[in-house]
Amino acid sequence: MTAGYNTISLGTGRKEFHPKKPRPGLEHYIDEAGKGCLEQIGGGKNVDECVIGNFMAARFNKQANLPGFFPMIDPDLRFKPATSVEGACGSGGLALTSGIRSVLAETAEVVLSIGVEVQNTMKAIYGADVLAGAGWFQERKNGHAYYFPGQFSDRAGAYFEKYGREKTRQAFARWYKNAIDNARLCETAQEFHNNTEDLEELAMMEPNGKVFVDHLNVFDCSKVSDGASSIAILSEEGLQACGLTKDQAIEVVAWSQVEEDITKPPQDLTSLTTIRTAVALALDRAGITMAQIGTVETHDCFTVAGLLGVEAMGLAEPGEGADFILQGNTARDGVIPFNTTGGLIGWGHPTGATGVHQAVTIWEQLTGKAGKAQIEIKKDRPYGMSVNMGGDDKTIVVVIYKQAT
């Protein structure tokens, strides 16, 4: 993979965001992200195939048939194959695996993958209805007004009960602080302008179930975002054809994509079992262990998902994720820095774009292009990993990368 590009993640937090003023639409984001990638690989003429990941443009923007936007980006994409993929917030991850498959199948040498979502077209209370589509619609009636915050609040509540509340909430607050600290180093991040001093104190605000959910507050949640990300997925021949060298690219070492039954409730509220399965599978395929991973982009749609993710990766035993986080292991100067440009809480969560954004961040870190957000990639931990989740632990994409050689 190479030539990653992110638009800004627009929404509350960004100075240029005003809920009542007109904003760029879906087309703008697809166009900007598409051109951002194409400019780095010699234009659309070098592309064999396109994939776009998106969750709910059909409702947020009343727009379907997204493959039709590729020729808008570059006329050289006219009459080339293009596909739209959807797996809720895992759509971006599917845009990656879809491209990876085409390259592995040798039906394409160069694939342009874009992820996009423009969600600020409606108020949050209606946006919650749209996002609830990531769950089983038959369960919607019994769900919370804020459906997914409700689902993960239930997970947090179960975790509090099993392992204790206070320390867990402190770990949530630390997770939030790390996310904002990282976002402040990345100009496209939604929380880039955040200048609150005591982030952990702020994040310890008591949840209020009367107006929101019982066990999470707003700082535990990812952002409502407009944004797009893009990356090129290429074979070695494709890389050469685009005139690029390997030091500008990362290699996909292994990947896994696993699915769980959307009609079934989670087996265990205190564990992300599908992520656990997917991560184990990807590590096995790569032939490595977590001890060799230098950085992780994980799907922290909520702080509790970040914490449960840490446990699902085997970095901490069940019930010990909070300690792992509070000891500083996931911070940017920790043993295994997580979400180095802010993740879903700090950088933003344009749902269908997130999986692609994760790959772009790993690409930046492993090729030394992360600017102020750059972390040190140590020799004994040369790998990066991204974990993208659709729904409540249903559609999971894990990708393991390293600098191409």
Partner: protein, 430 residues
């Protein structure tokens, strides 16, 4: 009654939602709310206003509404629930221009013009035609409730329930029971206010009560002080200067002349007229307001909430021009600001109601601001000190004459009903 008016529409909205919530909690309960007004146009506008406001309110309480509609299998998404709630609230309302439609009501809320004769005749008419011995709520802001009670022959079945403008937003309600008010009516009124999430301040039944008791005298002070400046300044300049003193130097959300515009010059003048006969030792009357009214300068608001021309003209809610009494024309505010500032001198910092009122360090900020103001020897500081002390004198007068039961009650009315950052009875300039 008076449902299409500025106060009436807000009261109707809150009451219709409260009734709908009660019916959703208790399916046996059937309640109907008649919205009566003389203006048919006003009533059709009213329904549109209620609809848009209910949607906004429903969006904020969707968590609760999903519980109230848990048994409705067809209402799945938030959008479905919000739409149904809006329909249900509107379905409780029957609009009418005929008073006879509410002859059989058990509870009547009156929010008509502040005119004692009109109020009495309508209350009388309903009571005379009713089989129910209804309870009456009245949104009276200055007429003693006891007088309405006696003149309409209601025998304690009326209570003053004075909302602040706009009722849907303002948290304060002044509650004014008459001497013979039925205890169960007082209890009901308290519950009603609590359910609407309003703060109650009890006021004794004295013309103007606490809110207008302070506002009218405070306004008169501003008018008199502006007049004193007329030797040195034009009318427009004097008005602008005193407005700035009473806003910027007093850290209030609006200057006194802007507030008069907001309430309406005609309404202020009328309330003074209603109150004045009850105040033998005071003259609560302004010739200036009379003069403006004869020239057609009335202030108040259009039904969409924008401000009509009064002492000022407004653009996007900000003062753009100032009325000049001599010429009858409006002068651009830019031509006045510098002159005003060079007369008043600088403001102590922080100098903004918004900065102070919502800050966690509000108390220290206020003390700091006023202690600076106390030590300043500018004309602005002097006028401001006089203003603060006059406001305090008025507050104490309300306590000493028994209108308010306590200093706290006076301060609460000004802080809640008028959004002041501090109560008038304070020790900043002792």
């Amino acid at each position: 009654m008076g449902a299409a008016g500025k106060m009436g529409s807000g009261i109707l909205l809150l009451t219709a939602m409260e009734m709908t919530d009660l019916m959703l909690q208790n399916k046996e309960l059937k309640l109907v709310l008649y919205a009566v007004d003389v203006s048919a146009d006003g009533l059709s506008g009213l329904l549109q206003y209620v609809q848009s406001q209910v949607v906004r309110a429903a969006e904020k309480k969707t968590v609760l509404l999903r519980k109230l509609y848990a048994d409705r299998k067809d209402l799945i998404e938030n959008g479905d629930v919000i739409e149904q709630y809006t329909k249900d609230v509107l379905a409780t309302i029957r609009i009418s221009t005929h008073l006879s439609d509410i002859y059989d009501s058990s509870l009547v809320f009156e929010a008509i013009k502040e005119d004692p004769k009109l109020k009495v005749s309508i209350l009388r008419e309903i009571d005379a035609n009713s089989q129910e011995s209804p309870w009456f709520f009245t949104n009276t802001s200055s007429i003693p409730i006891g007088e309405l009670n006696t003149d309409a022959g209601l025998n304690g079945r009326i209570i003053g329930f004075h909302f602040y403008n706009p009722p849907a937003v303002q948290k304060l309600v002044e509650l004014i029971p008459t001497e013979d008010c039925k205890p169960e009516l007082i209890e009901f009124a308290k519950n009603y206010a609590r359910n609407l999430r309003k703060k109650i301040v009890p006021s004794n039944d004295f013309a103007g009560f606490i809110g207008n008791g302070h506002f009218m005298r405070d306004a008169l002070h501003g008018i008199i002080e502006a007049k004193k400046l007329n030797d040195q300044f034009s009318f427009a300049e004097s008005v602008y200067i005193m407005n700035s003193i009473s806003q910027d130097f007093l850290l209030r959300p609006m200057g006194i002349f802007q507030l008069i515009d907001y309430v309406g010059i005609d309404v202020v003048s009328y309330i003074m007229q209603v109150m004045n006969p009850y105040l033998p030792d005071e003259e609560l009357h302004s010739e200036l307001l009379d003069q403006l009214l004869t020239k057609g300068v009335k202030g108040g608001q259009f039904s969409n909430g924008t401000q009509k021309d009064g002492f000022f003209q407004y653009k996007k809610g900000r003062i753009s021009h100032v009325y000049e009494l001599k010429t009858g024309a409006y002068v651009p505010v830019d031509e006045i600001v510098k002159k005003s500032e060079s007369f008043t001198g600088p403001l102590p910092q922080p100098a903004n109601w918004k900065q102070v009122n919502f800050s966690p360090g509000k108390k220290e900020m206020l003390e700091n601001f006023f202690s600076k103001l106390k030590s300043m020897d500018t004309k602005g500081a002097k006028l401001a000190r006089n203003y603060v002390l006059e406001s305090k004198r008025i507050g104490e007068l309300l306590v000493n004459t028994g209108v308010a039961a306590s200093v706290d009650d006076v301060n609460k009315v000004l802080e809640t009903g008028f959004y002041h950052a501090y109560g008038p009875i304070n020790n900043y300039f002792n």
